[in-house]
Subunit: 459 residues, 2 copies
């Protein structure tokens, strides 16, 4: 088993032998060899390989593959590959492939196409599919509605366990998620759900309404997909029903939730660094510049703020030039301490709120930690400064400024994310710039301000 | 439904009325009222409320609750609450509660206790449970073995679909995950698996060995839990079998994988900021200091490096003191640009490797982006500097230094994570300090070095 696992792991690497194997088989138009190879691969691994093929090879490959394999490939492809596959297929074949896919995946494919081609494809679909897909396509990206599937099992509350089993048996092969069955009341509104384990362990003649769970979690189709992920993670759900005015519109499955969690975290990590989630290593140069430059210019404004503070004290620096080398230590260390506090607070806020009582206690602790950490770092810095600059007062100023700036770091590191959360902003993303602006500006101000006050002692 | 969802959402808030309601019912020893209230709550929400109770209230509450509710509470509690619950219960009652829990959750509870109490509890358990739990306890934290459950359904390959259904019916109520059944060969080794949908849609007399899937993904019990999460996310698995020398030891379920993904990302976010994943808002002051100070001292060393560079040019700064205000803009903006590149590269590395060909092209693009973004930021900075300092040469030096430092930012922002990944270090965590050290040190060096070269023009 461990070997098999290693094989899969190796196959998942970008530059294993399989991509070239596929190219060779495509060149030789060896359909049987190709199918035999594809048979040994998980579809996601196949998608990773296919991603490396040129458009020409991709087209020849798709000519050789049966439509169900193309459907699996399109399901597992990322957006750029999905678009390449759809572009390589003519409308007729693409319609066959789409008919083999779950409708949430079809929505992803249609969403990758030009609106003109998407509507032309929709026009050629069966009436029933077209209605469902059109309604799914109306939900904006990153909403619960945009990631739900409409293939789920629902039955009326006057049915029995035997009915459930018959429906499951009939639909099992085509439905992604059969662990949860939904129960509708006589007006067609969602009334409860049944876990498959409950069905399997109940007598065949039991009424669904008697054994169903009525306490359940659901989500509105226009809610943010991140909210859906939070609910599934918190309540350990197998599937999350999407409901509007009592009507069950669809179901979000766990595999899509895992994708959402990973995407949202990636997005946070990128935004935290001022990068855009649309950018990849392959983005063209000008897109890269266009996506990064605005954030750099925002930061330039805050850099100027800090620079103006330094300029205020140019007269002082001119007389004790050592200040210019030491001031960057004080401001930089404040930034580091602020990041630590911010990270702890942001994690807490992602799970829970902060009460006024908690806030008072935590803020007190942050200030105390700032004093202690500032004293420790200030002492070390002070000793080095004393040795390097042969002055007895400069180290004292360094010590006090370091303590002051770390108290500022703790205070802003705590208050900024709490305030952003209170204003319904994402604290993970925007806290950083405010906190480092505070530690830079105030760090320079405290250190240089004190130096100016005690200037006669420093010269 | 949307109301119900809102109710749950409100209940999930820390300071809704429910915590006080529980306190009141506990004070009045109103067992019926308490059970009625608990009945309306999801266990995770109950755990959130209980977490706010004092030890005294917690003890009285546990006296009033039936053991199955305590078991659900212990399952959904975080580690500190789990320890408080276990401490509040005597051995006899705790053994009853543990007997009602899945063994992966029992392992979590035992892991939270002192080794002495854990062994004394183990000694009082049934032989069969003790053997399983002892073997589970041997897997270190954060390994696949530490998060697997041993309650799964496995059957021999010579059985039929009818046998499967009988086993499922018998075990469904007690087993968390019934969507996947595992098939063992005649020597007891894992040979394949069956999706419940396949079972439900196959004839009752079909042999398991004929309809099972033999291509499957598994993991070693000592592998990192993050690897388990990657496999489940990549292959959209319902459950991941844990296998050693062909033996099926346990199964990791999707809900545990979601917890792993969230924990690992939180860990990355915290470590990126130099914070420790063990720290919470409630950590005592001295723990907070102990966890943060080492990272601050590491950063202090890099701050000194940058400071030494500035000190090298003290003579130059003394003559053109404006340099001290402008140099922080150049170094800081390099740090920001480096973070952007790093974030894009780290995300790419979390999914894929970088080939030598990719690396050459991407590095070229980063350098070009550094030149363009450096030119844009340098131009803006140069104009402001020209207005403020009335010197025609200073802006030119600012422009060139900004371009140089952004090229350095792009180069290090790209190469550092790639190099760390190649050395099997986590690029998400440790890249930042190297990149900002480079942009600080080299940023000061380029700017002040050029200023020194052209000093006569600046005075």
């Amino acid at each position: 088993m461990s070997d098999l696992h290693n094989q899969l792991d190796a196959a998942a690497q970008s530059h294993g032998p399989a991509a070239q194997d596929i190219e060779r088989l495509v060149e030789e138009s060896d359909r049987r060899g190709l199918l035999a190879l594809v048979e040994t691969m998980e579809s996601i691994d196949l998608a990773t390989k296919v991603d490396e093929l040129s458009d020409e090879y991709l087209r020849s490959l798709l000519d050789l593959l049966p439509s169900p394999t193309i459907a699996l490939l399109a399901k597992n492809a990322d957006e750029p590959l999905r678009l390449r596959i759809a572009t390589a297929l003519d409308d007729q074949l693409l319609l066959v492939v789409l008919a083999l896919m779950q409708n949430d995946d079809v929505v992803d494919v249609l969403g990758a196409l030009s609106p003109a081609r998407a509507s032309s494809l929709l026009a050629h679909m069966r009436e029933a599919d077209r209605v469902v897909l059109t309604s799914l396509l109306q939900y904006p990206d990153e909403t619960a509605g945009s990631i739900m599937t409409t293939s789920f099992i629902a039955l009326r509350e006057d049915r029995t366990v035997a009915d459930c089993l018959a429906i499951i048996q009939a639909k099992a092969a085509k439905i992604e998620q059969i662990q949860t069955l939904y129960v509708l009341d006589m007006k067609g509104r969602l009334a409860g759900y049944l876990d498959l384990r409950k069905i399997l362990s109940s007598p065949r003649n039991a009424l669904v309404s008697r054994i169903m769970e009525t306490r359940m979690v659901s989500i509105d189709p226009y809610a943010d997909q991140e909210e859906a992920a939070d609910l599934v993670a918190r309540y350990n759900l197998n599937a999350l029903p999407v409901v509007s005015s009592g009507q069950l519109l669809g179901v979000i499955t766990v595999d899509d939730i895992i994708d959402v969690i990973i995407d949202e975290y990636d997005e946070d990590m990128l935004r935290l660094a001022g990068a855009n989630e649309e950018e990849t290593l392959d983005s063209p140069l000008l897109d890269t510049v266009r996506m990064r430059l605005p954030w750099l210019l925002v930061n330039l404004v805050t850099a100027f703020l800090a620079s103006f503070v330094v300029k205020l004290f140019e007269g002082t620096i001119e007389q004790v030039v050592a200040l210019s080398a030491i001031m960057t230590i004080v401001s930089g260390m404040g930034g580091n301490a602020g990041s630590q506090t911010m990270a702890i607070v942001v994690r807490h806020l992602s799970r829970d709120n902060v009460s006024v009582r908690d806030a008072r206690r935590s803020l007190g602790k942050e200030i105390a930690a700032g004093i202690i950490n500032g004293a420790a770092n200030g002492l070390v810095t002070g000793i080095v400064v004393a040795i390097m600059y042969h002055n007895a007062f400069l180290p004292v100023i360094v010590l006090i400024a370091m303590m002051g700036n770390m108290v500022i770091a703790g205070t802003f590191g705590f208050l900024v994310p709490v305030a952003l959360k209170a204003c319904h902003q994402d604290p993970a993303v925007s806290s950083s710039i405010f906190v480092t602006t505070a530690t830079d500006v105030l760090g320079f101000f405290i250190f240089l301000g004190m130096a100016q006050l005690f200037l006669p002692l420093l010269r």
